[in-house]
Amino acid sequence: MTDPIISVAGLSKLYPLGKQGEVSLGLYRDLLRPLFRGLAATPSPQDEPPEGMFWALRGVTFDVREGERIGIIGRNGAGKSTLLKILSRVSYPTAGEAVIRGRVTSLLEVGTGFNDSLSGRENIYLNAGLHGLSREEVDGRLDAIIDFSELRRFIDGPLRHYSTGMRARLAFSVAAHLDPDILILDEVLSVGDLAFQQKCIERMNEISGQSRTLLFVSHSMSSLRQFCSRGIWLERGRILMDGGIDDVVADYAKDALRLTGGRQWDEEAGETEEAARAGEAPSPSAAEGNEAPAARLVSASVIAGGNRDVATITADEAISIEAVYDVLREDITVFPSFRFYNEHGVLIFTAAYSDPDTEPLQAGVGRYEARVEIPAHFLNIGRITVSIGLNSPVSGALKRHHVAEEALALFVHEVPYPGRSARGPYPEVKGAVRPIFRWEVGRIGDNAGEQRVGDAASAPSSPLSS
């Protein structure tokens, strides 16, 4: 099959700004004089939008090959949802065209059309029907859907007796059995019970192998990296970047989260333009006191997998933070330290040079390089900023030669499925750090509430002690 499964060419959508009522779309004229209004009258995306309107999408063009899994990323209002709505045919484009060659299922929400008064079974028929399945097709899949949802006991009860989790399960079960060629997902996988979501993903992978085409919009960079192979970054209605998902997410994150995987300081000012541009990083408080600095930073970098200046990493990567600094006075010894802050501004930990086993730090003028390794599975998910300080202990106190607040900013992503991750079955694990611990959990008795009869006697039977 040589034709792309989805071809989007020049797709554009004009929306009125602000209140919808204020912009008359000329409905009456539209109804009564259609023949006088040619399509030529519609504005083209090359033009500036008419008064009171804006381009939600502007000349978006891309092709999708069968089996590609595309993640669409962008800020709020960048046009992601508009694009999905048009491809799902719930909204019309103003200009351009899209051709979809295959059966599409579009999940802009899960459980569309669910009704509280109807039973789970009736809701399955209704929901699947809305996604284009005939009654016979649902008949054939009904048992599989019910089994998959693990809700057989409740299936004939009205939906109003279902918990939120049960509804989500039922909805996902239907979704997992729609079996389309092309699946369009809008953020829907980011809600609900994680273990069950994984089950859905596995099921989708299982029934289709690699032939399923996916179009996925999400704000979660982790899910995008997990499910997608290619990324499209939309910005103000246009495609800003189209490429491998890791590259697109990394660049997007860098831009959106103001990440800095590496930086250099000026010889004189102690701060480069780049650092100044990053905005929030306050200028390094050169030194305490007014004397000329005795040491200063030259450069800093995050190193991961042999690459320098990396701004996005996954939780299972070990990284090194490197600082290069000059010592300008002969009589001092400089101790570098790195402080790690999370996105709430909480100081997670400080890596201060403290290793008693290595050589004592040399003193004297020269250029030095310091690296500290942060093990894999240690930082929690999110944006981490690193402040770097160059210090000297002076008679019991600390002399700070150069402190660069927020010198580096990196983003830690969730480990792509099915990699090992400390989150286990949870959507997230709270805490400043997120190590993988060694756990031992086992069953010690056949009945709940069974008491151990004498600790000594039962000890050998404990599954944990063997």
Binding site: L31, R89, P93, G102, G129, G132
Partner: protein, 284 residues
């Protein structure tokens, strides 16, 4: 959006072409047929929701026309008004009310269907015409219950249908088509101004009194008869009674006019509805 094969179409690769809405949109009847399973589900849902409590649902379906029948029968008896009806008043009135209530329910709910289906229409694609079609079909359940109750009346008054009963489906079909056409037109207009909804409500309210529901056209002076029959529901109601009651002659002329009017309304209504399709979701 151009040719869209039905989703369940065999042979795998359906090709969907998404384009700006065209100038003269035609309803894709073939596509609609492909969605008949969904139409059935939607209608079933509507009916189920109305009759969640089955007996209460049946009660309300019959109670409203029945109460009105008793009120009007008393009024007629006390006032001694002559309404020019060939058959007993109660079954005449009841049959008229049952059809009239079907018509106003179907029309007003079809007119509100875009708004009431917005949560679905904004999330998943299906032919939009299904939205106004659903209440027109689901209302038949209540009409059926009314007709079942009418059989009781007819047995009580010992009147019955003759061969004209065969025309009943045609009359009901015409009434459905008129409700759909009118509903579609007002659904389209309502997107522009909500006042249109008020107007429709007024038309349907006044309609009860200017249509032959509670009286017979026999009391209308001959010179006003043409104006009276300009109301398309007039022929429908008379034809409906004629199909049910052997003693009433079939109003061939007025009913032919009703059918012609319905055809025009259906085409124009659906056309307007389709015209607004491209802005429907952006407007809500």
């Amino acid at each position: 959006m151009a040719e869209i094969p039905s989703p369940g179409e065999p042979g795998g690769r359906a090709e969907i072409i998404i384009r700006p809405a065209v100038v003269l949109p035609l309803p894709r009847l073939g596509e609609l047929a492909g969605y008949r399973g969904l139409i059935a589900s939607m209608v079933r849902r509507e009916v189920r929701l109305r009759y969640v409590d089955l007996w209460l649902g049946l009660f309300w379906a019959v109670a409203r026309p029945l109460l009105m029948v008793s009120v009007f029968v008393f009024l007629r008896d006390f006032s001694g008004a002559r309404l020019g009806i060939e058959i007993p008043y109660a079954p005449y009135l009841f049959s008229g009310l049952v059809l009239w209530f079907y018509f106003i329910e179907a029309t007003s709910r079809a007119a509100a269907s875009i708004q009431s289906s917005a949560p679905l229409l904004g999330k998943v694609y299906y032919p939009r015409l299904i939205a106004p079609l659903t209440p027109v079909l689901s209302g038949l359940a209540e009409l059926g219950i009314g007709l079942a109750a009418l059989i009781g009346f007819m047995a009580w008054f010992a009147i019955g249908p003759d061969w004209k009963l065969l025309l009943l489906p045609l009359v009901v079909l015409q009434c459905m088509a008129l409700a759909l056409g009118t509903g579609c037109l007002f659904a389209a207009l309502r997107l522009h101004r909500r006042d249109w909804e008020r107007l429709l409500g007024l038309i349907l309210y006044i309609g009860l009194f200017i249509s032959p529901v509670i009286y017979s056209p026999a009391i209308i002076p001959a010179r006003a008869l043409a104006a009276f029959h300009a109301n398309p529901m007039s022929g429908t109601l008379l034809a409906f009674r004629s199909a049910l009651f052997a003693d009433m002659t079939f109003p061939t002329g007025p009913f032919a006019y009703s059918c012609a009017f319905t055809l025009v309304m259906l085409v124009f209504g659906i056309y307007c509805f389709q015209r607004t399709e491209r802005i429907q979701m952006d407007r809500l």
